[in-house]
């Protein structure tokens, strides 16, 4: 562990910060339909929160919170959610992603807003999962054994 990782100040601040980061990301995701924001940005912020956690507490710790399998399901599920919403429009006789045709809410615009939110959530899920798994995959291995292999190669 590096000095930074051991620093009590940083560890405490990160611990306090992360819930707010994640909450903010959820806000950004849900705000996508009516203002600046959306699934991409929110997902990245969420992912950044987890990555921050992983940087300070170690990847193994982070993987306990959000495992590879969970990542995979989030990534796939998010896209299925997004495309599924689009397909729902088709089932109600519209074009792909033509939200207005779904009789969910009294007005078309309102329906569209709700469904765009659903889509944004889907996108957010995928983006956060992909961001996190990218970080996990690319970051150097931490266990003793892995390190050993690397030294050999060098």
């Amino acid at each position: 562990m590096s000095d930074i990782q051991q620093s009590i100040i940083i560890r405490t601040i990160v611990r306090i910060m992360i819930p707010f980061i994640l909450l903010f990301s959820l806000y950004v995701i849900m705000h996508g339909a009516s203002g600046p924001g959306g699934g991409f940005q929110g997902g990245v912020i969420f992912g950044a929160g987890i990555i921050l956690y992983a940087m300070i507490y170690g990847i193994e710790e982070a993987k306990k919170k959000i495992s590879d399998k969970a990542n995979r399901i989030l990534a796939s599920g998010g896209l299925v959610l997004y495309a599924g919403t689009g397909l729902l429009a088709i089932l109600f006789g519209g074009m792909f992603l033509e939200y207005g045709v779904i009789p969910l809410m009294p007005t078309t615009a309102y329906t569209a807003k709700i469904l765009i939110d659903v889509v944004e959530i889907g996108i957010g899920m995928t983006v956060l999962a992909v961001m996190i798994s990218l970080f996990f995959d690319i970051s150097p291995p931490e266990t003793e054994e892995d390190m050993h292999i690397h030294e050999e190669v060098e």
Binding site: V80, A83, A89, I90, G93, M95
Partner: protein, 502 residues
């Protein structure tokens, strides 16, 4: 009623079905790994049916327009299926289907433990290619281009071979340059026209053809696509990538990636810019023909020098791409038909050849041509498929290679470019040289040892797609009339601006 819902949305479903299926693959694989193959095959089959239906609709009733989310162009993203991309789409879906059937056993042996990511990426690659082909929006095109490129890099690197990773990285760098050029070109065109819709752009561009920005955009597009298709001086990524990728990936990528690249080139030249601009004003087509002619010769010559089967096929791809672009660049109806027909022909032949290379590798672990002795006895069906596909590449009449060659030569005569006639004919002799070397090794040379060799054919799931593709090599060699008459002739007229849009 329900039927209507599906038929109305077929253009969108062409892209969305493989996309969703691609992301469902991990979930299905999580339930049971073996289901993945059935899932992928079924998806590809459905996609194939959809593309077939799209093509039939286009032939019967004309171009299909599909507006995403009900937003009308030029503001919304529009999918447009005309003869050109209907034709390319069905090729993508068909080759995708064949390779997916084939991959069952091949993946088990070559990529154990990577089944799920492989199939997932596979479907995403198909999504990317489909999207590139079908979209009528120039930026949407870029996004799908990147999807297909990224998945292709991944499919090449997924194998265990060390060289595959390096090849994939080199491809990635080249591909990024290409994609960036294309992105830049898109930016330039957007800057001068203010639209991203291809049809809209084609209407606006003629008024500003004297603008240097338009010219620069064309140059960027051509440079970018030349890298993507592996046109001769820019082909350096191609041989390594094809050689070191896993068998199924090579078959898919060699069969489709460059074809779709060629499609994109055609689409941009004739569907975004106008024929008048690329043919007469900038003479881009003329430059293209010379580059293509060079590619034909150099690709064939380099193929002769190879001893690795897949590498040889890769160089042969460089030369075959030259055929397609030569035909397009000739810019007359006959040459254009030849070039377009060669998209189909080359996809069928080259996929078959790469599948054969994979099957041989699967059974024997051999890649070097000089070690092929006695294979004719050991794997009779596989080698027969190789014979048929190889003869097609040479251009023997009765196979697909002949029909496109016929049109290309006729087109060159029509254009008065006798040198190209010479080049095309010479290249068929060069093709003969490198394919016959393999035939010789497969069937001749060890008369006495051969008797002892036992039959050891590839599994059925690998044989079926190979045999179907070989059958198509002959089918379209004899019945080339149908694609030509129903699709390519009106299409060539349409592209060159002769006659009315259907």
């Amino acid at each position: 009623m329900t039927f209507d819902i599906i038929t109305n949305n077929l253009p969108a479903l062409t892209v969305i079905i493989p996309l969703i299926a691609g992301f469902l693959t991990p979930i299905i694989g999580w339930i049971n790994r073996k289901l993945c193959w059935y899932h992928v095959m079924l998806t590809m089959f459905i996609v194939f049916l959809i593309t077939a239906s799209n093509l039939l609709t286009v032939i019967n009733t004309g171009t299909i327009h599909y507006q995403f989310g009900g937003w009308a162009p030029p503001f919304g993203i529009e999918y447009v299926i005309d003869l050109l991309n209907g034709f390319v789409c069905i090729i993508i879906a068909f080759i995708g289907l064949m390779v997916s059937i084939y991959s069952k056993e091949s993946i088990k042996k070559e990529l154990p433990g990577k089944t799920i990511p492989y199939y997932s990426i596979y479907l995403l690659l198909v999504t990317g290619l489909m999207g590139m082909t079908i979209t009528g929006d120039i930026f949407n095109f870029y996004v799908f281009l990147e999807i297909s490129s990224l998945t292709a890099y991944a499919l090449i690197a997924i194998g265990d071979r060390k060289d595959g990773i390096v090849a994939s990285f080199n491809y990635l760098i080249m591909g990024t340059v290409a994609a960036s050029f294309i992105l830049l070109g898109i930016g330039y065109l957007y800057a001068v026209t203010g639209t991203l819709n291809m049809a809209d752009m084609q209407n606006i561009l003629p008024t500003i053809y004297d603008n240097k920005v338009v010219l620069a955009a064309l140059a960027f597009f051509m440079a970018g696509f030349s890298i993507k298709v592996g046109l001769f001086p820019l082909h350096t990524w191609l041989p390594d990538a094809y050689t070191h990728a896993p068998s199924t990936s090579s078959a898919l990528i060699a069969g489709l990636m460059t074809k779709v690249g060629a499609y994109a080139m055609i689409r941009f030249m004739f569907g975004v810019f106008t024929p008048a601009f690329v043919i007469d004003m900038t003479r881009m087509t003329e430059i293209l023909t010379w580059a293509a002619a060079l590619a034909i010769i150099v690709g064939s010559v380099l193929a002769i020098a190879q001893s690795d089967m897949k590498r040889m096929l890769a160089y042969s791809s460089v030369s075959q791409i030259g055929y397609i672009l030569l035909g397009v660049g000739l810019a007359n109806v006959i040459g254009m038909q030849g070039g377009l027909l060669h998209i189909l022909n080359h996809a069928v032949m080259k996929s078959a050849l790469f599948l054969v290379a994979g099957a041989i590798f699967y059974r024997t672990g051999i890649r070097n041509i000089h070690q092929f002795k006695g294979l004719g006895k050991r794997m009779p069906v596989t080698t027969t498929v190789f014979l048929i596909a190889g003869l097609s590449m040479i251009g023997v009449p009765g196979t697909v290679g002949f029909t496109s060659k016929w049109y290309l030569v006729l087109g060159s005569m029509e254009a008065g470019m006798w040198i190209f006639v010479l080049i095309i004919l010479a290249s068929s002799l060069l093709n003969l040289a490198y394919f016959w070397r393999v035939f010789d090794n497969i069937w001749f040379g060890h008369p006495h040892e051969v008797e002892k060799i036992k039959r050891d054919e590839a599994p059925l799931s690998m044989l079926i797609p190979m045999v179907i593709l070989a059958g198509l090599c002959i089918f379209f060699g004899i019945f080339a009339y149908y694609p030509l008459h129903y699709i390519l002739e009106p299409l060539s007229n349409m592209l060159l601006g002769i006659g009315v849009l259907p």
